[in-house]
């Protein structure tokens, strides 16, 4: 039995390390994806001049990708039109082996 422990401990450690590394890589990649998606939403809002249809379309797309998108209308001009919006994108940061399951946020401003 001692032999089994000796032989398989290394393999199990390798297995755990591999999944830990993969989890970290996936979590980083999720962060990059979220950042990219936030930039995309910001540019869409700016290009559409804060069109409500575009905002709702962005929210739908965010939901499809597993994000939570919050767009705060911030500043209005003299004609009561929106000229600035705060884009908040919530995404999950998961490293299962470490028990990490947090919701993180990236935000940007569309002008």
């Amino acid at each position: 039995m001692d032999q089994i422990l000796k032989a398989f401990t290394g393999l199990v450690l390798l297995f755990v390390n591999f999944f830990l590394c993969i989890s970290v890589v996936i979590a980083c990649e999720k962060r990059v994806d979220a950042d990219e998606f936030k930039s995309f939403v910001v540019s869409e809002l700016e290009n559409s001049n804060f069109n409500d249809n575009v905002i709702s379309a962005c929210k739908n797309q965010a939901q499809e990708n597993g994000y939570e998108l919050v767009i705060d209308k911030a500043v209005y001009d003299q004609e009561n039109d929106m000229i600035l919006a705060n884009v908040k994108l919530n995404y999950t940061y998961v490293i299962p082996l470490l028990g990490l399951n947090e919701t993180k946020m990236v935000q940007g401003v569309a002008r």
Partner: protein, 549 residues
């Protein structure tokens, strides 16, 4: 110079030896032919064993009964196990069917092997019991016939009891076939069914005591002690092998669990990485194929491990084939350092000058294998000598104590020279060669200690050296304190046997450890493949976050 009487004795023994050798040669040829026939049959046997009735017949040969119900139950269990493993690895139906077919083909061999193992263990136990019982029974009346009769009462029904009955009946008939005598021929019936040194030695002692009389108590005691040790070693080895088999079984189970865990974890990670679609690593045909190969490989490993438990426990230990052993022995005997070194330099000569130009003008890394190759060629004589010497030494450690036991028994009634001559025919080929040389030296210089101490001197075995010195002192002191010296000789023999046992156990342990590492090697390969494949899939899925319309 040896006396005329001694010369006549040697001549007579040589003639007897030649007769015995020719008889043994005939038996050997017969066995070889039988073995060839068995091998021819083997391929057909595997196919025929698939028929349950044929399997039952084969099992019946070993004296056991394998019922149809047990067979059906075993098949159901194997089917369930295959389906379970298939479900665990989420294999396609055709993969599960393939694994099941392979398992079903192995199953009859596995069952047969199990009964063969039980049969061999029973034979071993019976052989040990026979030696013990016959020697104790012989002490009462000093008659082989009566001893056999007493033994019959102790043994349960089985092969040994049948053979003993046959032997008693043979003595009852009173007709001999050869000039060896009725007792010898009767006991041959048992020896043929149980070909073992311990039984042969015990029978030899009984026949010689009944035919010639004399003091036999000490010899019987020696044989009993030797038999006890043999039984203890045999059971110890059986237990050790069972333990190793258990370890291999656990290793296989752990390998399957670990491999499945890797696949499930990859699947889980894949689903975390890829939220767009459902990620399933099991659906890929490459994973299915490798899983299938992995499971079949483990099946064969389990079969091989189970096969190592089956041993002919009665056979004497021979580590290597006789021809190989003889060639190793000849190599060590004829080895001359300077000549071998010249040969090695000649082999390495074409490579060594190439290293520098290759280093200067070509790829530098080629120099490393060239350097290693030249080193191997340069020292090949030493490597070859070491390997050959080690294999002969290992065999000597196993064979010498057996020969010493024979010699100790023969010394009870003969002088050293005659005992050595008589013991010559029952040893292995290396000892035979060394004994021939020893006898020549003894004839030329009977009073010099060198005649004895030069025995196996090329192999530097201190135990053999001290035994030979003791033999010399026995030969020199005559019969005065022979018994005491024989006791000392046997103590030496016990030490050697313990060492031989260690060597043998290490050899068996190494063999079993090799099997233990097969599943580990397989799981390493499978895990690295699955991990690499899973990682590639995950990295490719990183780009799948949908942006834009």
């Amino acid at each position: 110079m040896p006396s005329k009487k001694l010369k006549r004795e040697i001549k007579r023994w040589n003639q007897k030896n030649e007769k015995q050798k020719s008889r043994e040669k005939k038996v050997k040829l017969k066995r070889e032919e039988e073995y060839k026939q068995i091998r021819k049959k083997k391929t057909t046997t595997i196919l025929t064993l698939l028929n349950p009735k044929n399997l039952q017949k084969e099992v019946h040969i070993y004296g056991y009964h394998f019922s149809e119900f047990t067979h059906a139950l075993t098949i159901v269990l194997v089917l369930l196990a295959c389906a379970g493993v298939g479900i665990l690895f989420e294999l396609h139906v055709y993969c599960i069917v393939f694994i099941t077919v392979v398992a079903m083909c192995i199953l009859p061999l596995f069952i047969l092997d199990m009964f063969h193992r039980m049969y061999e263990q029973k034979r071993f136990a019976q052989a040990g019991q026979y030696v013990e019982q016959i020697l104790y029974s012989f002490k009462h009346k000093q008659k082989i016939y009566a001893a056999l009769y007493d033994c019959l009462l102790v043994f349960e029904d089985g092969l040994m009891k049948d053979k003993m009955k046959e032997a008693i009946l043979y003595i009852d008939t009173g007709k001999t076939v050869t000039d060896r005598g009725i007792l010898r021929e009767a006991l041959d019936i048992i020896e043929e069914a149980f070909p073992n040194d311990k039984i042969r030695n015990a029978n030899q002692l009984l026949v010689s005591v009944e035919e010639r009389g004399g003091e036999y108590e000490e010899s019987a005691k020696l044989l009993l002690e030797d038999n006890n040790q043999w039984i203890r070693r045999g059971y110890g080895l059986q237990a050790d092998k069972k333990q190793r088999h258990l370890e291999v079984t656990f290793s296989i189970i752990t390998s399957i669990i670990l491999c499945a865990a890797v696949l499930y974890s990859l699947n889980w990670m894949g689903n975390i990485a890829d939220m767009q679609k459902h990620f399933n690593i099991f659906q890929y045909s490459i994973i299915q194929t490798t899983s299938c190969i992995f499971i079949i490989f483990l099946l064969f490993v389990y079969y091989k491990s189970s096969k190592t438990l089956t041993n002919d426990w009665l056979a004497s230990h021979v580590l290597e084939k006789e021809k190989l052993l003889l060639s190793s022995y000849e190599y060590v005997i004829r080895y001359k350092e300077s000549k071998a070194q010249k040969k090695s330099i000649l082999y390495a000569a074409p490579i060594i000058p190439c290293i520098i130009p290759v280093y200067l003008f070509s790829y530098k890394w080629i120099c490393i294998p060239l350097f290693i190759l030249s080193c191997i060629f340069l020292f090949q004589h030493k490597i070859g000598y070491f390997i050959a010497k080690q294999s002969v030494v290992r065999q000597l450690y196993l064979s010498f104590p057996q020969w010493l036991m024979d010699l100790a028994l023969l010394l009870q009634n003969n002088n050293v020279f005659v005992s050595i001559t008589k013991s010559q025919k029952q040893t292995n080929i290396i000892l035979q060669k060394e004994l021939e040389k020893l006898l020549i030296r003894m004839q030329e210089n009977p009073n010099r200690i060198n005649a004895y101490t030069e025995f196996c001197k090329e192999f530097d075995i201190p135990e053999i050296y001290s035994c030979m010195k003791m033999l010399y002192s026995i030969a020199e002191s005559g019969t005065g304190n022979v018994n005491q010296q024989i006791q000392e000789l046997l103590m030496q023999m016990n030490e050697m046997e313990a060492k031989a046992e260690e060597i043998e156990n290490e050899h068996i342990k190494f063999k079993m450890e090799k099997i233990f590492f097969y599943p580990i090697a397989a799981v390493c390969l499978k895990m690295s493949f699955d991990m690499s494949f899973g990682m590639i899939l995950m990295i490719s899925s990183f780009q799948s976050v949908f942006i834009g319309g």
